[in-house]
C-alpha cells in the first residue's frame, strides 16, 4: 500500500541523499582532473579523464604496504579483543561474587576516560619498556577496546543458561573446552557486533598510531594520509586521488556487510 502523500517525502529524501553524496562526488570528479582543470572549475566533470593522479598517489602512499599494515594491525587487534574479552566476560558472568561485580564495574567505568587524559603517561610508560611498536599498539587496543566488548558479551551471556555449562562439565569437558566448544559458538551474533565496532574504530584511528608506531614503513592508512596530505597540500589533484584510494577499502567492505554493520553499530550505541 503506497500512499500519494509520500511522494514529497520521497523527493525530500532523495534531495538530501544527493547533498550527502556531493562531497564524495566532488572528491572523485576532481581526482580525475589535471591540476590546471581543478583550478579552472571544481564542479564540472573532467573534460578528459586522467588516472595519472592515481598512479602517482598510489606509489607516493606506498599504498600496498600501507594497506597491509592497516589490515595487520586491525585484524590482530580485533581477534585478540574478541578472544580475551569474551573469556573475561564469561568468567565475570559465571562467577557471581562481589569481586566479579567490582571488576565489571571498573571495566564499565573505564569507558568514561577520554584518551587525552591518559595519553601522555601512556606514551611515557610504554616508551620506558621499549614497547612503542606494533606489539605495544595491539596491546593498547586491547586495553582500550576491552571495556565495551566485555560489556556487550556480558549482556549476551546472561541469556545463556548455566545448565549448559554443567551438562558439558559432567560429560568431562574442562573449563576451556566448555567455553570454546559450547559457549563461544552461541555468542556468534554478539561476536559479529564486537568485531564490527572494533574494526571501524581501529581501522580509522589516527592519534594512537601516530604516537606509537610513527616510523617509516609501519604507517597505517590514516597515518600515511596525514603525511601525504601535508606534502601535497596545495596539489589537490594528488591529494584527492590519495583520499579516494584511502576510502575505497571501507566502501567495498560496507557494500558487502552493510546490514551487519548498521545493526552492529546501533546495538553498540543503544546498549
Amino acid at each position: 500500500m503506497r500512499k500519494k502523500h509520500l511522494v514529497p517525502l520521497e523527493a525530500a529524501g532523495i534531495f538530501l541523499a544527493l547533498i550527502w553524496l556531493a562531497p564524495f562526488y566532488l572528491m572523485i570528479v576532481n581526482s580525475l582532473k589535471t591540476k590546471r582543470e581543478i583550478f579552472e572549475d571544481t564542479l564540472k566533470p573532467p573534460s578528459t579523464v586522467t588516472f595519472e593522479n592515481y598512479v602517482q598517489a598510489f606509489s607516493e602512499l606506498d599504498f600496498l604496504r600501507t594497506f597491509v599494515n592497516s589490515v595487520l594491525i586491525t585484524v590482530l587487534s580485533v581477534v585478540i579483543i574478541v578472544i580475551f574479552s569474551s573469556m573475561a566476560a564469561y568468567a565475570l558472568s559465571r562467577v557471581k561474587s562481589r569481586l566479579s561485580t567490582i571488576i565489571f564495574f571498573v571495566f564499565v567505568a573505564a569507558m568514561l576516560i577520554p584518551f587525552q587524559s591518559v595519553m601522555i603517561p601512556l606514551v611515557t610508560i610504554f616508551g620506558k619498556f621499549e614497547m612503542l611498536n606494533r606489539g605495544g599498539l595491539i596491546f593498547m587496543y586491547l586495553g582500550f577496546g576491552a571495556s565495551l566488548s566485555i560489556f556487550l558479551y556480558h549482556g549476551a551471556l546472561s541469556s545463556i543458561p548455566k545448565s549448559l555449562d554443567e551438562a558439558a562439565t559432567i560429560d568431562g569437558a574442562n573449563k576451556f573446552q566448555v567455553f570454546w566448544y559450547i559457549i563461544f559458538p552461541m555468542l556468534k551474533p554478539i561476536t559479529v557486533t564486537v568485531a564490527i565496532l572494533n574494526t571501524i574504530w581501529i581501522w580509522n584511528d589516527y592519534l594512537l598510531p601516530s604516537l606509537v608506531i610513527n616510523q617509516k614503513g609501519m604507517e597505517t592508512i590514516p597515518l600515511k594520509m596525514f603525511f601525504f596530505f601535508g606534502e601535497y597540500t596545495k596539489q589537490w589533484h594528488l591529494a584527492l586521488a590519495g583520499l579516494t584510494l584511502a576510502i575505497i577499502p571501507v566502501i567495498i567492505l560496507y557494500f558487502f556487510a552493510q546490514k551487519e554493520i548498521i545493526k552492529g553499530v546501533s546495538e553498540g550505541a543503544v546498549k
Binding site: 517525502l9 564542479l43 573469556m87 571488576i103 595519553m119 586495553g143 580509522n204 592519534l207 566502501i251 548498521i262
Partner: protein
C-alpha cells in the same frame, strides 16, 4: 567455575593486565604528574595546585574550552534534529528507504581525519567555485576566519554523525507498533498530533542516548579538528583535545598538559554521570 579457581584468573588475566597498564596506571600516574613539575623525563618535586591555578588563567586553554562548549552545544542540537528527521523519512514506506539509509550512514565508516581533508577541499575550493557561479560572496574564503572555521566544523560533524544518530532513532521508531499509530489515526489524530502524542513519548529514551553520544563525541573531537582547520586561523578553532596535545607534544610542557588532561577527564566524567543519573531517573518514572 569458582572465584578461587585458577581458571577464573586465567580467563581474566589478559584484559586485566591490559586495562591496568594501558588505562588505570596512566590515569593515576597522570594525576600524580599534574601536581609536579614533570618535564616528560624527570620531576624535581611537587608544585601543589600551581598547574591548575595557571590553567584557569591561561587564555589559550580557556578559549579552547569555550570554543569546545559552543561547538558541542550547536552540534548536538543540529545532529539530533537532522538525525531524527532522517529517521522519520526513512521509516516511512518509501521505495528508496533502504538506499537512503545506506547513503546517510556511510560517512560514519570513514575516519575523521580523512573526512576533514575531503571537506577542506569542499569548503575552500568547491564553495568558492559555487559561490562565484551563483554570485554569493560569503561562500569565498571559508575556513580562513574563526566564524567559517566554526561552522565548517559544525557542518562536517552534522554531515558525518546525523546518519549515526538516525540509526539509533530508527531502532526506537521501528519498535513502535503499527496498531498504535493506526488507532490514533482512526481516532482522528493528524500527522503532527500522532508524532507529538504517540511517537514522541515512545522515542524519548532515544533522545537521552543520542544527546549524550553526540555530546561526548563532539566534546572529545580531535581528528576532524586537526584535518579540517588544524586549529586555525590563529588557534581560534582549537578544541580542548588538540590544546592538550599541543601543550604536551608541541611545547613539551608535560606536567601542565597533564593538568589540562585531568580537568578534561573530570568534565567528561561529569557529563557521563549525568547521563547515567538521567536514564536511571527515567526508568524509575516508567
Amino acid at each position: 567455575m569458582r572465584k578461587r579457581d585458577l581458571s577464573y584468573w586465567l580467563f581474566l588475566m589478559p584484559v586485566l593486565a591490559a586495562l591496568l597498564l594501558v588505562v588505570i596506571a596512566p590515569l593515576l600516574l597522570g594525576i600524580y604528574y599534574s601536581f609536579t613539575d614533570w618535564n616528560g623525563i624527570q620531576t624535581k618535586g611537587f608544585v601543589g595546585f600551581d598547574n591548575y591555578i595557571a590553567l584557569f588563567q591561561d587564555e589559550r586553554f580557556m578559549d579552547s574550552l569555550w570554543f569546545t562548549v559552543k561547538f558541542s552545544i550547536v552540534s548536538v542540537i543540529l545532529i539530533n534534529l537532522i538525525g531524527l528527521s532522517l529517521a522519520l523519512i526513512v521509516t516511512a514506506k518509501l521505495k528508496t528507504n533502504k538506499a537512503l539509509r545506506t547513503i546517510f550512514f556511510m560517512p560514519n565508516l570513514i575516519g575523521g581525519l580523512i573526512l576533514g581533508f575531503i571537506w577542506q577541499f569542499i569548503f575552500t575550493k568547491a564553495f568558492a567555485g559555487f559561490g562565484s557561479i551563483v554570485g554569493i560572496e560569503s561562500l569565498q574564503g571559508w575556513l580562513s576566519t574563526p566564524g567559517t572555521g566554526f561552522w565548517g566544523l559544525v557542518i562536517l560533524m552534522s554531515w558525518q554523525m546525523s546518519g549515526y544518530i538516525m540509526v539509533i532513532y530508527i531502532a526506537y521508531l521501528e519498535g513502535i507498533s503499527k496498531e498504535l499509530i493506526e488507532a490514533a489515526e482512526i481516532d482522528g489524530a493528524n500527522a503532527f498530533q500522532r508524532f507529538r502524542h504517540v511517537v514522541f513519548p515512545l522515542v524519548a529514551p532515544a533522545f537521552t542516548v543520542s544527546m549524550f553520544l553526540t555530546l561526548s563525541n563532539t566534546f572529545k573531537l580531535y581528528d576532524q579538528n586537526l584535518s579540517l582547520t588544524g586549529g586555525g586561523p590563529y588557534n581560534s578553532t582549537q578544541m580542548v583535545a588538540m590544546e592538550i596535545f599541543n601543550t604536551a607534544f608541541g611545547r613539551y610542557d608535560m606536567a601542565y598538559a597533564q593538568a589540562k588532561a585531568v580537568i578534561f577527564f573530570l568534565i567528561v566524567a561529569v557529563i557521563a554521570l549525568l547521563q547515567v543519573y538521567l536514564s536511571k531517573k527515567r526508568e524509575v518514572e516508567m
